[in-house]
Assembly symmetry: C2
Amino acid sequence: MSIRKGRSVTISDVAEAAGVSRAAVSKVIRNAYGVSPGMRARVETAIEELGYRPSVAARALRGSSYRLGLETPHINARFMGQIMHGAKQAVDGTPYQVILAPADGPEYSTLESLADGLVDGIIAVSPLVDTAWLENLAGRVPVVMLGRHDDPRGYDTVIGDDHAGTRAVMRHLFELGHRRIAHLTEPSPVTAPGSGTPHAIRLEVYRACMAEAGLGHLTHVARRHDNTVPATRAAAELLAAPEPPTAIVAGHDDIALDALDAIVSAGMRDRVAVVGYDNTDLAAHPLIDLTSVDQQGVEMGAQAATMLLERLQGRTEPRHYIATTTLHVRGSSIPPV
Amino acid sequence: MSIRKGRSVTISDVAEAAGVSRAAVSKVIRNAYGVSPGMRARVETAIEELGYRPSVAARALRGSSYRLGLETPHINARFMGQIMHGAKQAVDGTPYQVILAPADGPEYSTLESLADGLVDGIIAVSPLVDTAWLENLAGRVPVVMLGRHDDPRGYDTVIGDDHAGTRAVMRHLFELGHRRIAHLTEPSPVTAPGSGTPHAIRLEVYRACMAEAGLGHLTHVARRHDNTVPATRAAAELLAAPEPPTAIVAGHDDIALDALDAIVSAGMRDRVAVVGYDNTDLAAHPLIDLTSVDQQGVEMGAQAATMLLERLQGRTEPRHYIATTTLHVRGSSIPPV
């Protein structure tokens, strides 16, 4: 081991110390297929002994940053914690890290910026980004679209079974005897028919279930609006109606928490049922006690990261993963009075 | 405007179109001092018309990525949402973006990786990272340490006033008549005396207040442990004691939520007070109704990002910001029975 002091350690130094080719060292670093455990051990030992650290910027220029990026519209969405947790589990033991890029604004520029040499692959939660644009992005960097019921050629998708999940919610409420069931969801661009977003599907299934049950005339869709109408106010308006709903189906748990806030503030806790979606950690808290649909967010995150790693190792045909859903019935879904 | 099709737009093209020097274009892009509004407008118009986008990787190599990194030990810590929100507010209107790098493991490697050309500045929440190591890191990239009562030379700090905040909590509980007050906090490395972490200060002030009130013999410190003892179990053990505490001072709101979980599960909601710290969005929810200390997390995040931008524009002397605290009294801090 005769590395001159003051000179940066190079991949050739590692190869010489490990007694393997430079290509082999590169394979180990990229976590590529076809590396024997013995070769991996020798190379990793040499990397550690020599203190070799490939420059991230240099790797980015030649196409490898060892980072996966998770783009999400809102930093505070509780469901994203599950996704991130799963993605980090999936890259554990690989050279990859996961970073989070919250858009909180134009998703196109956040995605462009991630693709621009910052990460090797992107998990995106962008309900409003155009499909053709995504196909184009996916030509430059591997992309997994999370929560979009698309049928793309160039990228992978991971979705929950929003049809089954929403049908389970509606069946549960019908069985309890509810008829006047309102749906409190996201602003209309996110639920546009045909957009393939989870919230568009949930809205469509809500409408279909109401119609099938002969309750089409009681269909009532309320929405929060990003800056003008918080979900608490939208819920309060529902509750203030002459004939308020006896149950509120919330688009996700964060909205359900706001609905519970409005219900408690209106003194109607024992009169209005609430069901959420995502089964975030708070749903099971005894003070919240929220009935919610578990769509296996951790598994979805793990699948998405695994798909990116597969693409980075050469897979090109698209894969689509659908997570099954489970309804967790808790105290918030009381029968109508 | 005669840019040849198929050739990348360069900084020289922008300079020519705007009728300014390349250095001026660079200044506008770097958001540096000494750019007149008129020059900025001309350059930005040219950038937009030509579709100029400097390569992130190339910028990283020459020292500018236009990204600030927020390193945090846990992705799920609710307080981090406030910090991120403030940091994003502070960079709004600048060319900078904020990305989040959750460590969930060795913080040194996450910080190294951020410093390695990925970001231009780092906001770090790393209670266990060595001060000398941080000074060294700060020699390579601007660093703001969040929530460490250090007195560093090479980096900035943003902290809450943990002394005043904790004293306000203890005064409130004493005034309600509590004497058997327990403190439920983080694992011991994070609260090590002299470490300067917020949790070390809160523990120290808790002990001091108990001693000053002549209640030193009733001091009781319980801890969660990352993988073995969740805070719910640590709280349940406190409650199962022959003489359980009449009040629990939680290290932060996430621990307070777990304490409330244990208290409700033990059927002791009307017998044990809980106070949290951080005043996260859930504290005000009527079903949680948690007394908590607001330490202005959004302002802390905004200050931290602003400090990084100042350093990127040339400031070298360290700055230290202390956020004031406010106790929000809510239903969880009942008097002793």
